[in-house]
């Protein structure tokens, strides 16, 4: 049972390709989970069984073993495969609308809602305009006729 759990947690990573040092292996796994497989539909290379994903995992582990920092490893892959390999796109001029669009839409909606609510609160309840004195007198007269008629 333990074996099944362990093998399930290991995804596509072959035990043979893991690093002996658990700390380095953990770093390799963290990087792999953020790197997009170049021949799969939005799968990380950590999840993919494609040969190229295996080759990229191996390159990551080799570079980590050689003493590269996480940023250097990602830069290595990015120099060869571009932003395409990053499952989390970087924040720049081209992706600004994507990153900020949803929060901005939310803020705009919140502003419009707040303004709408404030407008409603300053209006009299029911929203009916106040009657002028003439209208009030006429209303009284009509109601008076009605009361007379019922008696």
């Amino acid at each position: 049972m333990l074996m099944i759990i362990v093998s399930m947690a290991a995804h596509a990573v072959d035990p043979g390709e893991m690093l002996a040092d658990p700390a380095l292996e953990a770093r390799a796994r963290a990087i792999s989970a953020e790197v997009r497989c170049v021949v799969c539909q939005n799968q990380s290379i950590d999840d993919s069984n494609a040969e190229i994903a295996h080759d990229m995992r191996r390159a990551i582990r080799e570079r980590i073993t050689q003493g590269d920092s996480d940023a250097q490893v990602v830069a290595f892959l990015r120099a060869r495969y571009g932003d395409f390999v990053l499952l989390k796109p970087p924040f720049d001029i081209r992706t600004g609308l994507m990153w900020l669009g949803a929060p901005l839409a939310l803020l705009l909606a919140a502003f419009l809602l707040w303004r709408g609510l404030r407008r409603a609160a300053t209006k009299p309840a029911g929203g009916a305009p106040d009657l002028s004195s003439e209208e009030r007198a006429r209303l009284e007269a009509l109601l008076g006729e009605d009361r007379e008629a019922r008696r």
Partner: protein, 178 residues
């Protein structure tokens, strides 16, 4: 304030969406296109054992001093078969051409080349795909043009078509060789 402009809001949204669709459809945007980030940068320093017995190793020194075309190929790759005559043509045009035999059994690659002709000056064997990752390829075939200083000038992530040779590679090699 009136809610009058709310009536035009659907129209405004339609125009914005139509704009996005028109942009995506006409600018030939392809979300599966990896691009060629290696272009403009130095070709990676590799050192591959030769495919042929008694051949020379393929290293970064093999694209110094002369414009070079480097092609990743394998005998199991059908598009490689389709583009192969074009490499025979590049060779006949006097272009320096090196091959990298990607994830291929050497005996199968050698039989394939014996059958079809071997246009490559040198062939490095890349049985484990290490040079593939160094060059940033996603599969085979892929082709690079490297200038005299070792800088990548062109990266095609697909099999060559006759027009790629006639209109892109041959003029580029000529221009870079000047």
């Amino acid at each position: 304030m009136s809610n009058r402009w709310l009536y035009v809001l659907p129209l405004v949204m339609l125009v914005i969406m139509a704009g996005f669709f028109a942009y995506a459809l006409t600018q030939s945007r392809n979300p599966t296109d990896i691009g060629a980030p290696l272009v403009g940068h130095k070709a990676p320093a590799i050192d591959l054992a030769p495919l042929h017995d008694g051949g020379a190793r393929l290293t970064g020194a093999d694209w110094q001093g002369k414009v070079t075309v480097v092609n990743f190929f394998a005998s199991w790759c059908a598009p490689c078969l389709a583009e192969h005559p074009l490499f025979l043509r590049l060779k006949s045009e006097g272009v320096r051409l090196h091959g990298i035999n990607y994830r291929n059994k050497p005996e199968e690659a050698k039989a394939w080349l014996a059958r079809l002709g071997d246009p490559y000056e040198r062939i490095g064997a890349d049985p484990e795909g290490r040079a593939g990752v160094e060059f940033g390829i996603s599969g085979v075939p892929e082709t690079f043009v490297i200038d005299r200083t070792g800088t990548v000038r062109l990266h095609l992530r697909r099999p060559l078509m006759p027009d790629d040779v006639n209109k892109t590679i041959l003029p580029l090699v000529k221009e870079l060789s000047r």
